[in-house]
C-alpha cells in the first residue's frame, strides 16, 4: 500500500508524517513518535493499556488505524501534565499506591482522566463502571479506584490538595506509608519496559511456532526466508553452539525445537530482520516438514502403560513425584469416628501479566553477550545461557528490565536464548516483543490439578489422618513442575498439626501448554482441597468452621507435615483477626439461610445489577448509550 501523509496534533504539537495506512494509531504513536507511554497489552481492544484521547474521546489506539486519525487532536499519557509535574489524578495514584508493575497504569490514568472530565461527580459505582474496560493484574483495582475517588474529591473541592501529600515518617521509616518511588515514572508513562527500548541499528525478531502438539521435525528449509531483502539471519536449533537445554529444575527444553515439537506454540525457528513486519513475513517463508506423533492430552493417559513417550529421559512421562510420610495413617484412620473422601480439581490458569514477553540482546565491545528482559531470574538464566552458547559465564550478561507483571510466568527462559543467538550471528542488537496470542500459547500456566482426599476425624473435630494424592499436568516441559510438586506436598494438609499423613504429589508430561511457576507454586491447589475438606468435615460434625480449624491448628512446638518443629505459629492470631474483622456469626457449617446478622454489613459492596449504572445529571440526559 502506498504511504499517505498524516497531519495531526499530538499533545498540543502539530505532527506531520508519511505513514503506512495500515499502521495502527498505537504503532504510529510508539514507533514514529516514540511515545511509548501508550502500551500494547492485547492488541484486541480488551485490556485498555493503549487508551488515548482522540478529539477528546477515550479510544483504544490498537483498534484505530493511524490513517483515521488524520486531522485529529490526540492526547497521550505523556501530554497530561507538563514534563516533571503530575496532574491531580497522577498524584492521587502516587498517594494511594495505585501502581504496582505499572504496565496498565498509563491506560488506567487515561481512563481515570476520562472519568474526571466526563463525570466529575461520579459515584463509586460509576467510577468502577467507567474503569471497567481496563484490565489490571497486580493491584486488585482497589487502590486504583481509591485514587480516582481521591482525585474526584480534590478536584470538586470536597478534599483539600493536602490529601495528596505524603504521610510523614513519624519516628521510623519502617511501618510508614512511604509513597512508591517508582510511581511518578509509571503514572506519566516515562518508564521504559523492554518492549519500549530501542538501540541504533536494531533488528526485529519474529518466531515461527509449532502448529502441532507432538510431531517429529523431518526438515527445516530456511533458504527462502534467508534470501529475502532485509532479513539479517534465520536461526534454528542448529545454531546452538553449546549444550542446549533450559528449565528451572530440569534442563529439558531446547532454545528452539530440536528434532521434535512437544506443544502447540513451541518455537521452531526465528528470523531477525530490519522491521517487525518483514520478520513476520520471512518467518512464514520457512518450510518445516513434520511427521505428527500421537499426543498425550491428559495426565491420566500419560501414566498408562504404553503411552507415547514425550521425553526420552522420562520413559514413564513422570516429571516428579514427591512423597511425604508422617506417623501411621492406617492407625490414624482406625482411630477416626468419621472418614470422609472426596475429589477436587483446579483448572489451568494464565498469568495474564499485562506486559507480554519482550527482550533486547546485543554483543558489546568486550564480546559480552547481553540480554535485557523482564526475567524474574537473571542469575539462573545467566548460568543456563552460558552453557547453551558455550561461553564463560563472565561473557554472558543479563539485565533485568522493569517487569510488567510476572507472578512466576517470567521465570522461564523461553525466548532470551533466541535473542542471544541472533545477536551473536549478526553482531547487531535484536529485539523481540511477543503478541498477546504468542504469550498465551508459549508461556507456562498454573498447573491444573486433581486431588483425591481421605480425611479421618474424631467426633470433636480433631483430624486423625490424611491421605492426599495430587496429579498435575506439567505439560510439554518440566519448567518449575518439580518445585511446584514439592511445595504442594509440603503445604498440602494446611496449617494443621496432623499426626498421621500420607501425601503424594506427581506432575507428568503431556503435550499441553507447559505448566510452571505461578504465584503460590502449588500451594493454592493443595490448600483449596484441604480447606474444602475441613469445611465438609465441620458440616458433618456440626462444628463452626473457625472452631474446627482452632482444634487442629499448628501451635508453637507443633511438628509440621515434614516433621519440622515450629518455634512460632501465628494461625491462632490470624483466625481471630479474620473472625473479628468480618464480624463472623458463629454456627455450624450448613446452609445457614438469610436470617442472620452478619450478612450485608460493613465491608461489603452492593452487588452489580444489569443495566447502566451511570447517574443521570439533573435535567440532562444519561451519558451512556
Amino acid at each position: 500500500m502506498p504511504e499517505i501523509d498524516l497531519s495531526l496534533q499530538v499533545n498540543g504539537r502539530k505532527v506531520t508524517r508519511r505513514a503506512d495506512p495500515g499502521q495502527r494509531l498505537l504503532d504510529f504513536l510508539r514507533d514514529e513518535l516514540n511515545l511509548t507511554g501508550t502500551k500494547e497489552g492485547c492488541g484486541a481492544g480488551e485490556c485498555g493499556t493503549c487508551s488515548v484521547f482522540v478529539d477528546g474521546k477515550l479510544v483504544k489506539s490498537c483498534l484505530m488505524p493511524a490513517a483515521k486519525a488524520d486531522g485529529a487532536v490526540i492526547e497521550t499519557v505523556e501530554g497530561l501534565a507538563k514534563p516533571g509535574t503530575l496532574e491531580v489524578i497522577q498524584r492521587a495514584f502516587h498517594k494511594t499506591g495505585a501502581s504496582q508493575c505499572g504496565y496498565c497504569i498509563p491506560g488506567m490514568v487515561m481512563a481515570a482522566t476520562s472519568v474526571l472530565r466526563e463525570a466529575p461527580e461520579a459515584s463509586l459505582d460509576e467510577i468502577k463502571e467507567r474503569m471497567g474496560g481496563n484490565i489490571c493484574r497486580c493491584t486488585g483495582y482497589s487502590k486504583i479506584i481509591e485514587a480516582v475517588e481521591l482525585a474526584r474529591d480534590v478536584v470538586s473541592g470536597k478534599a483539600t490538595p493536602a490529601a495528596l501529600e505524603e504521610d510523614g515518617p513519624g519516628e521510623s521509616y519502617i511501618g510508614t506509608n512511604v509513597r512508591r518511588l517508582d510511581a511518578p515514572s509509571k503514572v506519566t508513562g516515562r518508564l521504559k519496559y523492554a518492549g519500549d527500548m530501542v538501540m541504533p541499528d536494531m533488528l526485529h525478531m519474529a518466531v515461527l511456532r509449532s502448529p502441532h502438539a507432538h510431531a517429529e521435525i523431518l526438515s527445516i528449509d530456511t533458504s527462502e526466508a534467508e534470501a529475502m531483502e532485509g532479513v539479517a539471519c534465520v536461526i534454528t536449533s542448529e545454531d546452538v553452539p553449546g549444550t542446549d537445554g533450559f528449565g528451572v529444575f530440569v534442563h529439558d527444553q531446547p532454545i528452539m525445537a530440536r528434532g521434535k515439537v512437544r506443544h502447540v506454540g513451541e518455537a521452531v525457528a526465528a528470523v531477525a530482520a530490519e522491521t517487525e513486519t518483514l520478520a513476520r513475513l520471512a518467518a512464514r517463508k520457512i518450510k518445516v516438514e513434520y511427521r505428527e506423533l500421537p499426543g498425550l492430552f491428559s495426565p491420566e493417559d500419560a501414566l498408562k502403560d504404553g503411552a507415547p513417550v514425550i521425553h526420552d529421559y522420562a520413559p514413564d512421562n513422570l516429571v516428579k513425584h514427591i512423597p511425604i510420610r508422617k506417623g501411621d495413617v492406617d492407625k490414624g484412620f482406625a482411630e477416626a469416628d468419621l472418614i470422609i473422601e472426596d475429589e477436587f480439581s483446579t483448572q489451568q490458569v494464565e498469568h495474564a501479566y499485562l506486559e507480554p514477553e519482550a527482550g533486547l540482546a546485543y554483543v558489546d565491545a568486550d564480546d559480552v553477550v547481553t540480554v535485557i528482559s523482564p526475567s524474574q531470574n537473571i542469575t539462573h538464566h545467566r548460568h543456563m545461557l552460558s552453557e547453551i552458547i558455550a561461553k564463560p559465564i563472565n561473557k554472558v550478561r543479563f539485565i533485568m528490565s522493569p517487569v510488567g507483571g510476572g507472578f512466576g510466568g517470567k521465570e522461564d527462559m523461553i525466548y532470551q536464548g533466541m535473542l542471544a543467538l541472533a545477536a551473536m550471528k549478526t553482531f547487531r542488537p535484536v529485539r523481540l516483543v511477543f503478541t498477546r496470542e504468542e504469550s498465551i500459547i508459549a508461556s507456562a500456566k498454573r498447573h491444573p490439578s486433581k486431588v483425591r482426599y481421605r480425611m479421618g476425624l474424631k467426633s470433636d473435630g480433631r483430624i486423625t489422618a490424611i491421605k492426599f494424592e495430587m496429579l498435575s499436568d506439567g505439560g510439554a516441559y518440566g519448567m518449575s513442575s518439580e518445585g511446584v510438586m514439592r511445595k504442594a506436598a509440603i503445604l498440602s494438609c494446611g496449617p494443621y498439626e496432623v499426626d498421621n499423613i500420607q501425601v503424594d504429589t506427581r506432575a507428568v508430561y503431556t503435550n499441553n501448554t507447559p505448566s510452571g511457576a505461578f504465584r503460590t507454586f502449588g500451594g493454592m491447589q493443595a490448600q483449596f482441597a484441604t480447606e474444602s475438606m475441613v469445611d465438609i468435615a465441620a458440616e458433618r460434625l456440626g462444628l463452626d468452621p473457625f472452631e474446627i480449624r482452632r482444634r487442629n491448628m499448628m501451635r508453637a512446638g507443633s511438628l509440621t507435615h515434614t516433621q519440622q518443629r515450629l518455634d512460632s505459629a501465628s494461625i491462632d492470631r490470624v483466625l481471630e483477626a479474620a473472625e473479628r474483622a468480618s464480624n463472623w456469626e458463629a454456627g455450624a457449617v450448613g446452609m445457614r439461610g438469610p436470617e442472620r446478622g452478619d450478612l450485608n454489613g460493613p465491608g461489603t459492596r452492593a452487588p452489580c445489577t444489569l443495566g447502566a449504572r451511570f447517574e443521570r445529571p439533573a435535567g440532562g440526559k444519561e451519558k451512556v448509550a
Partner: protein, 339 residues
C-alpha cells in the same frame, strides 16, 4: 424455599513458607553512604510490581539515617551487581531486604566511627534519622550531607556489604521429612458472596483478609499485595479457565480468557498481623504469594453456605453452579420420593 439471590459466607485458612523451598537461599547487597547525605544500594533486584524498590529504600533510610527519596538503587545486572537470585518465592523483602539492612549497617558503622572520633564521643551514642545525625545526650547534630563530607575528608569512604542466608534443608526422598523454610506465615480469609440461583452467577461482595507478614515495612504496599492476590484468587475461583483441545488453546486472548475487572472486585478489608521473624535483622517476612492461597476455598465455602452445594472443581462458573443446584434438587426430590 430458596430465594433467587442467596448470600453466604465462608472461611479458609492457609500457611506458607518464605523464600526458596527446601534449599539454602541467599542474597547479597552493597551499600555506600554517598555525597550530599544520600545512599547508594546495589543488589540484584528490579521492581516486578510488588514495591520492593520502595521497601529497600525505606530499609536503607532506616538503617543509614538518610531519607527514602535520597536512596538510589542500582539496576539488576549480572555484570554490575551482587547476586540476589530471583524475583519470586515471596523472598524479596525477606532475603534482599535483610541483605540491604546488613550492608547499610556496615556502611553506617564506618561513618559513625569517623564522626564519633570527630566529635570525641562514643560511637554508640550516635543516632541518624531523616537526614540528621545526632549524638544523644549532647547538643551535637549535623546533616547527613555534612557527616559524609567529614568522613571522606578523614580518608574513609563509608561502604558496606551484606548477605543474608535462609537455612532450609532438602526433603528426605522417602518420607519427605526436612526443614524446607526457616520462616512461615499464616493467613485466614472470610468471603461473602451472593449467588443468583437463576443465572448461576456468583458475586463476591466482601473479603476480610488477615495475614501474618512479620514486621510490616510499608502497610499500603502490603494491602496492595493482599488486594492483588485476592483478586487473582477470585479470578481462579469464578472465571479464569485456560482451555485446550488436543493441545490447541481455545482461549487465545482476553476476549476468551476472562479476567476480573473493576466491577468484579469485592470490598477488601486487610488485617495485618505482625509476628516478627526472630531469625532475621528486620523481622519482616512476606506476603506476595500467601495472599492468594485462601481466597478460592473461602469463596467456595461461602457458595456452600449460600445455596447448599459444594463446587469442587474450579472455576465455579455459572454453568457449574446451575448444574450443582439441579443435581442437589434432584437428590432432594429423590429423597422425598423415597419416603
Amino acid at each position: 424455599m430458596m430465594q433467587r439471590k442467596m448470600r453466604g459466607r465462608g472461611v479458609a485458612a492457609s500457611w506458607y513458607g518464605i523464600a526458596r523451598t527446601a534449599t539454602v537461599d541467599r542474597a547479597g547487597a552493597w551499600a555506600e553512604l554517598d555525597d550530599g547525605g544520600t545512599a547508594k544500594v546495589v543488589t540484584g533486584v528490579t521492581e516486578i510490581g510488588e514495591g520492593i524498590l520502595t521497601v529497600l529504600a525505606q530499609i536503607a533510610a532506616e538503617e543509614t539515617g538518610v531519607r527514602p527519596e535520597d536512596v538510589t538503587i542500582g539496576d539488576n545486572d549480572t555484570a554490575r551487581s551482587p547476586e540476589a537470585a530471583h524475583a519470586g518465592a515471596t523472598r524479596q523483602t525477606y532475603m534482599i531486604g535483610n541483605s540491604v539492612a546488613l550492608a547499610c549497617r556496615e556502611a553506617r558503622e564506618k561513618l559513625f566511627t569517623e564522626i564519633a572520633a570527630h566529635w570525641d564521643v562514643e560511637a554508640a551514642t550516635l543516632v541518624a534519622f531523616d537526614g540528621v545525625l545526632r549524638a544523644e545526650g549532647t547538643n551535637l547534630a549535623m546533616s547527613m550531607a555534612e557527616a559524609v563530607d567529614i568522613c571522606k575528608k578523614r580518608g574513609v569512604v563509608p561502604v558496606g556489604s551484606g548477605h543474608f542466608t535462609s537455612h532450609g534443608t532438602g526433603l528426605d526422598p522417602v518420607d519427605g521429612s526436612g526443614r524446607p523454610w526457616q520462616a512461615y506465615v499464616f493467613g485466614t480469609q472470610v468471603a461473602e458472596v451472593e449467588v443468583d440461583t437463576v443465572t448461576g452467577e456468583v458475586q463476591v461482595l466482601g473479603i476480610w483478609a488477615a495475614h501474618d507478614i512479620g514486621r510490616v515495612i510499608n502497610p499500603r504496599g502490603v494491602e496492595g499485595q493482599i488486594e492483588g492476590g485476592v483478586v487473582q484468587g477470585l479470578g481462579q475461583a469464578l472465571m479464569e479457565d485456560y482451555q485446550t483441545v488436543n493441545g490447541h488453546t481455545t482461549t487465545h486472548g482476553f476476549a476468551k480468557y476472562i479476567l476480573p475487572t473493576s466491577l468484579d472486585v469485592p470490598e477488601i478489608t486487610s488485617v495485618l498481623v505482625e509476628d516478627p521473624d526472630p531469625l532475621s535483622p528486620l523481622g519482616a517476612k512476606g506476603i506476595g504469594e500467601p495472599a492468594l492461597v485462601p481466597t478460592a476455598p473461602a469463596i467456595m465455602n461461602a457458595i456452600h453456605d449460600a445455596i447448599g452445594v459444594r463446587i469442587k472443581s474450579l472455576p465455579a462458573s455459572p454453568e457449574k453452579v446451575l448444574a450443582a443446584l439441579a443435581e442437589e434438587e434432584a437428590r432432594q426430590d429423590g429423597a422425598v420420593a423415597a419416603e
